[in-house]
């Protein structure tokens, strides 16, 4: 399987500070990728580099096939009617699929005659998504697509997005600072922290590799596992660990949620869970 995105030693500098530093990652094609991290971690910068809106100061970045981008501020023109947005899209994109676009808008019940500014936030997000999908991308990049949407609109946007993944098998890269929004939809996660890639991997493998342990504090010293995060009292230790071997039965072990996993890494910026470099055969 090919990689949809490959970055090696990527660095992006704004004036004198690095927005991204030494970022390496590979995302297999066909994945739905969550890009998470606190505000200011460099998520938007990384997305802009992926879609070619900025060129990196260091390193290399490759994507395969047509790339479509849905920016954070849903780049629609308020004075345009929906039909005019579609005409605009057709003129800018040689691979434009107008039939899919009008079909989707009809299914969503969004009239082509309506001015974009009179649509609800959810409808505007749907129009922006239709515009992005009509480019028939192999890689669809969305910057905080759910921000400012009510729960029903969030669900509707995700339904539309997942349906196109099921139909076309495209790769999707979605940024968000709310992990819970992406839990059911994404199967790969990239955690970005202070401009560096801290975690990149298959969500299910990461969740089976990690455990949350609670037990007597004296057991913590002779633990056969990589400790990612820890909190201690005089007597008790609570540890987020990776690749635990045989555990002392006094530990209480449980699976971690995706949210706990991400929080654990963000609190320990020096820890990382990155796959060993893999040569992917085309």
């Amino acid at each position: 399987m090919n990689n949809a995105v490959e970055a090696t030693g990527l660095g992006v500098r704004y004036r004198r500070s690095w927005a991204l530093r030494d970022c390496s990652l590979a995302v297999p094609a066909g994945r739905v990728v969550a890009l998470v991290g606190p505000n200011g971690a460099g998520k938007t910068t990384l997305l802009h580099a992926v879609v070619g809106l900025l060129s990196p100061d260091q390193g290399r970045l490759t994507t395969s096939g047509e790339v479509a981008f849905m920016a954070q501020d849903k780049p629609l023109y308020g004075d345009f009617r929906v039909a005019e947005m579609l005409r605009f899209g057709r003129r800018l994109n040689p691979s434009w699929d107008g039939e899919i676009a009008t079909e989707r808008l009809a299914t969503l019940g969004i009239p082509l005659k309506r001015k974009v500014s009179t649509l609800s936030g959810g409808e505007q997000a749907q129009v922006a998504l239709v515009m992005a999908l009509a480019k028939r991308p192999e890689l669809l990049v969305l910057d905080e697509p759910l921000a400012n949407l009510d729960p029903l609109a969030r669900h509707d946007v995700m339904r539309a997005l997942m349906t196109s993944v099921a139909e076309r098998g495209l790769t999707v890269l979605i940024s968000s600072h709310v992990v819970a929004d992406l839990e059911d939809t994404c199967d790969w996660i990239v955690v970005l922290n202070r401009g560096r890639v801290q975690v990149s991997g298959d969500i299910e493998s990461l969740r089976t590799e990690h455990l949350m342990l609670t037990g007597p504090v004296e057991l913590a010293d002779r633990l056969d596992a990589t400790v990612i995060g820890a909190s201690y009292t005089d007597r008790q230790a609570t540890l987020l660990v990776r690749s635990a071997g045989t555990l002392d039965p006094r530990w209480i072990a449980r699976q971690v949620t995706l949210d706990e996993l991400v929080m654990g890494y963000l609190r320990s910026p020096e820890a990382a869970a990155l796959p060993a470099p893999v040569v992917v055969q085309a």
């Binding site: 739905v32 995700m158 997942m162 349906t163 993944v165 139909e167 059911d184 199967d187 449980r254």
Partner: protein, 133 residues
């Protein structure tokens, strides 16, 4: 045509999404709502309703295939292969009486309800972890 069953999700259950789908198919099989030859909802139908990753649906269906309950026909869909018969209920009764004996033994050893629950759930968790490891 309407799909024969509709899936639903319980986000508070802590059970992974693919397993919830597997459990719901098995439940429908036990109750006779699904019978051999029925087509399961397509991945597209499921994700259009639940907004989940299509790979999650594929994974659930692979698990049902592995257990011999469903079969995928390329280009057509996934179909119910066999139903879950009454044998399962007989097993339930047998396992239940075995567990009752174990509980009694534990109480004689001085364990209370919480102790027993803790042992039971940690053994279940460990057993499944060994299986997936």
């Amino acid at each position: 045509m309407l799909p024969v069953i509709e899936f639903h999700l319980n986000k508070a259950s802590g059970v992974s999404t693919y397993l919830q789908l597997v459990h719901q198919v098995k439940h429908a099989l036990r109750l006779g709502m699904l019978v051999p030859g029925d087509q399961l909802p397509t991945a597209r139908e499921v994700v259009e309703r639940l907004a989940i990753n299509p790979n999650t649906v594929h994974k659930a269906y692979r698990e049902l295939e592995r257990e011999g309950l469903a079969m995928g026909r390329p280009g057509m869909g996934t179909f119910v292969q066999r139903s879950i018969g009454g044998a399962a209920l007989v097993d339930h009764a047998r396992l239940r009486s075995g567990l009752a004996a174990w509980v009694l033994e534990g109480r004689k050893a001085g364990l209370d309800q919480e102790d027993l629950n803790a042992i039971f759930s940690s053994v279940v968790v460990e057993s499944f972890r060994e299986e997936t490891a």
